[in-house]
Every structure is written in C-alpha cells, then in structure tokens.
C-alpha cells in the first residue's frame, strides 16, 4: 500500500533560510525530499497570494523560512511575514483548511542541522494530517 507522501512548497529567504538549506545540503544532512523549494529575496516579500495559490494547486503543506527576528537583511521584512502568515492562517481556518498546513520558521544561514530538523518535523506533521482536503477526489472547484 502506498504511504501518503505530502507535497510541500517551501518559500525560503535568500539570506537566511535558503542559505541554511544550502548548508544542510553541503553537510550531507539527510531529510525527506518532499519539500520543493522556491527562493525569495525576503520572506516579507511573500504575498499571501502565493500561499493560497500553492494550496489551490494541490500543495499539502506550505513552508516559509525567514531570518530570525532582528536579523532580516532588509531590516524589518520578517516582522511583516509574521503578521501576514498569522492572518493567512486565520483565513485558512475559516475556510476549513487546517492552519497547521502553513508553517513559518526562522532559520539562519548557520543552522543547516536545524533546517533539516524543522522541515522533517513539518513533513511528519503534514503526513499525519493527510492529503489536503482540496485534493480529495471531486474536490477540484470550477
């Protein structure tokens, strides 16, 4: 029997989270391959449209990686990320999509091990939640 393998879209900021992911790769730290990464310059530039579109196109989970508060390369971008993601989670809940499917993590460029850890943890959580309700048979909207 096929075990459910979630599809996770990850938006990672160039200066911290993406660099952290690179470090994990160079250090050969293993983590499950379910995350499809999209590099952005700053997590604050992530428009909620990208998150909603990812879910609408079938993602089972969306991961956003940014710099730790205070460390944003553009000074204050990640504060806005926090607020945008918090509000988007409320919208997802209201629409009946589990808000745990959207995860925001702060990962610095030096935290290769931590990147692998939080992603593996998130993939496990989404596996337990199951496929996105938007992906169920007959659920595609017109």
């Amino acid at each position: 029997m096929d075990e459910f393998e979630p599809t996770i879209i990850g938006f990672c900021c160039n200066w911290c989270a993406y660099a952290g992911a690179d470090l994990a790769g160079i250090s050969r730290i293993q983590y499950p391959p379910n995350l499809r990464m999209i590099r952005v310059m700053c997590s604050g530039a992530i428009d909620p449209v990208y998150i909603l579109e990812a879910f609408s196109k079938g993602a089972d989970g969306v991961f956003i990686g940014g710099c730790h508060p205070g460390d944003c390369h553009y000074m204050a971008g990640n504060y806005k990320t926090k607020r945008k993601v918090t509000l988007t989670k409320r919208v997802l809940s209201q629409l009946g999509l589990e808000s745990q499917r959207l995860r925001l993590e702060w990962v610095s460029a030096a935290e290769g091990q931590r990147f692998a850890q939080v992603v593996a943890d998130f993939i496990k959580e989404v596996k337990e939640l199951g496929p996105s309700p938007l992906n169920q048979e007959g659920a595609r909207h017109g």
Binding site: D47, P48, V49, I51, L52, E53, F55, S56, P69, G70, A76, Y79, K80, K82, R83, K84, T86, L87, T88, R90, V91, L92, Q94, L95, G96, L97, P133, L134, Q136, E137, G138, A139, R140, H141, G142
Partner: protein, 332 residues
C-alpha cells in the same frame, strides 16, 4: 433611419439592483431606447423564458447578465444568452465575481435549508418540508430548478466579453455603455475582449481623503470611533478595502464616510482580492513597534479583524483561489 442593436438583459440570483442601476440612467434611458431594441428583460418588461428560447443563434447583439449563478435554471439562461449573443457582458459584482450571494460558499445547501425551513423563529414547518426538484401533488407534476451548493460568477459558466462591476454599478459606468453601443452601430467596432468598464486603478487613486502615513495599531469598529472626515479611513484604523479595490465608482461610500467594502473587485493583475488586502493590512497593522511585539501580541493585534473571510472576500469569494469552505469529511 438609424438601426438599433438587439439588447437582452438576463438574470441570475439577483437583487435587481442592477436593473435599477440601468433605470438610474434616468432620462438617458430614452437614449438607450433609441439605440437598442430590447428583446429580453423580464424585470422591466413582459418577456417570458420561451421568448428567449425562440431567439436565433447570434441574433442578439449585446446581452447583459447580472446575478450570481445559483440554480440550474440560471445556468441555463446564461448558456442561452451566450449562445444567442455576439457580446456578453457580466453586469454587476454578482456576475463578475459572485457578489454577496457568493457568501453561500461559506455554508452549504443543507445548512441553508436547515436555517430557512426549520430554524428561523418565524418558520412553522414541523415536517421539515424542503424544496424538491420534482414532486407530484394531487396528480399534478411540478418541477423546480436545482439549487447548487456553490455560487458561481458568470465567467465560470460561460465566456464573458466585458465586465461592468459594482454593487450596484455606478451610473457613470452604466452610461459608458451608450457610446460603446453608438460606436458599434456606426463603425461595427467594439472594445477589446476582456475590457473592464471601470477605472484601471484602485479606489485610493480617486479617494478624496488625505493620505498621510499608514501606520495602525488599532482597528476600530464603526461604533468605536467618530472618524475625521478629511483623513484616510484606513489610517484612522477603520478597515477600508480601497487599496485592493478597483475604482471608477466615484468613491460614493467614502463620500458618505463609510469605508469601501470592495464591491468593484480587484484590479487587472490581481488574482485574489482577499489575499491582496491581507497583505496590505498585515503590512501596516502594528508596524510602528513591530520589533517589540511578542508572538502573543501579534496574534492579539490581528484578532481585531473579526471576520477575515467575510471582510476581505465579501464580494469575490466564488472567484478566489480557495473559493469555498471545505466541507467536513470530504469534498468541497
């Protein structure tokens, strides 16, 4: 003797505010009457469905349809009008984006029947009789159209040529139809397909209020504040959808010192009006001391927005990226 175009005006689940918007042309309705022969308009004239069905393919020049598509009959009318018309215009917010009846996507047909036919205080219906698509009563066969679970906008059902948004459409925008019809009669030319008959910019561009500095720390509900009539409402903490909404409506709501509710829908490049507004509000709410806010404080700050989906997707839920509340247990 000038030729006239053939004009049809059909409806979905409408409040007929759009019909009134056409009648709001006042004396210019006579101009419309001189330019167009109306071949279908049940709200204002005695046309029957059979009259529409009898019209030949492509015989109608311009059709307008207003109202959300909620029933099988309304979908049928949309297909009839599209088949019989050269140009189809989605008239009003309901047909452009789904409109207010589109909020039915936050509930379901079963829940609506429960409320309407059982729970409302003035309903006496002990056997819980609900509408059926077919029944036979005393030997008489009766049918009703099927009520869909979802509300749909017109472009989700048929190919739409132009959009005229607004709830209701502003008179200035309805008046723009008149030169379009005149040009068509004289030269046969029409605007490019997909044209939205409204402004291309957001409401903020035509809003008369003074904009200074967008930094909010508190959201006020209408009874909690008497707004300064000269300053941007959003800056004063009143949730105004202006930044994410198309202009062209003459900023009537703002002129009455009421915040925009987004009835004109998003501007051209925006896929999802609600998402745009989430981005705008989250960026400016709490920005002044954002460095010092704890996680709990951020949550509390955003909890001031009482009903995110209802506020940000008031008129555009059916065309949103995630366009309905997912039903428990299974499918949408």
């Amino acid at each position: 003797m000038d030729k006239k175009i053939k004009l049809a005006i059909g409806l979905g689940s409408t409040c007929s505010g759009c019909d009134i918007a056409i009648l709001d042309l006042n004396e210019k309705i006579l101009v419309l009457a001189s330019l167009a022969e109306i071949v279908f308009w049940p709200t204002a004239m005695d046309f029957k469905l059979s009259d529409l069905e009898r019209i030949g393919k492509n015989e109608i020049d311009i059709s307008l349809q207003h109202g959300t598509i909620r029933t099988s009959e309304q979908e049928h009318i949309a297909h009839l009008l599209r088949e019989k018309s050269k140009v189809m215009i989605a008239f009003g917010s309901c047909s452009c984006f789904g409109g207010i009846p589109g909020l039915c996507n936050l509930t379901s047909r079963e829940e609506i029947f429960e409320t309407v036919y059982k729970e409302t205080p003035s309903t006496v219906n002990p056997e819980f009789i609900t509408p059926q698509t077919e029944i036979t009563q005393d030997g008489h066969d009766l049918t009703l159209p099927e009520l869909y679970d979802d509300g749909k906008a017109l472009p989700q059902i048929v190919d739409v040529d132009y959009y005229l948004p607004g709830c209701p459409p502003a008179v200035e925008l309805v008046e723009r139809l008149l030169p379009i019809i005149t040009d068509f009669l004289e030269t046969g030319e029409l605007p490019p397909k997909g044209t939205v008959i409204a402004s291309d910019k957001t409401l903020c561009d035509e809003c008369p209020l003074t904009k200074e500095n967008k930094m909010l720390s508190k959201i006020f509900r209408p009874h909690e504040i008497i707004p300064d009539p000269k300053r941007c409402l959003l800056e004063q903490g009143i949730l105004c959808m202006g930044p994410a909404t198309r202009g062209g409506c003459g900023s009537r709501c703002i002129n009455a010192l009421m915040p925009c509710r987004g009835c004109m829908g998003p501007t051209a490049e925006v896929k999802d009006q609600g998402a745009k507004m989430i981005s705008a509000i989250a960026s400016i709410l709490g920005v002044e001391n954002e460095k010092d806010l704890s996680e709990d404080e951020v949550e509390k700050l955003l909890e001031q927005i009482k009903d995110p989906v209802g506020t940000f997707y008031r008129f555009t839920l059916p065309v949103a990226l995630i366009n309905r509340r997912i039903k428990e247990g299974s499918l949408k």
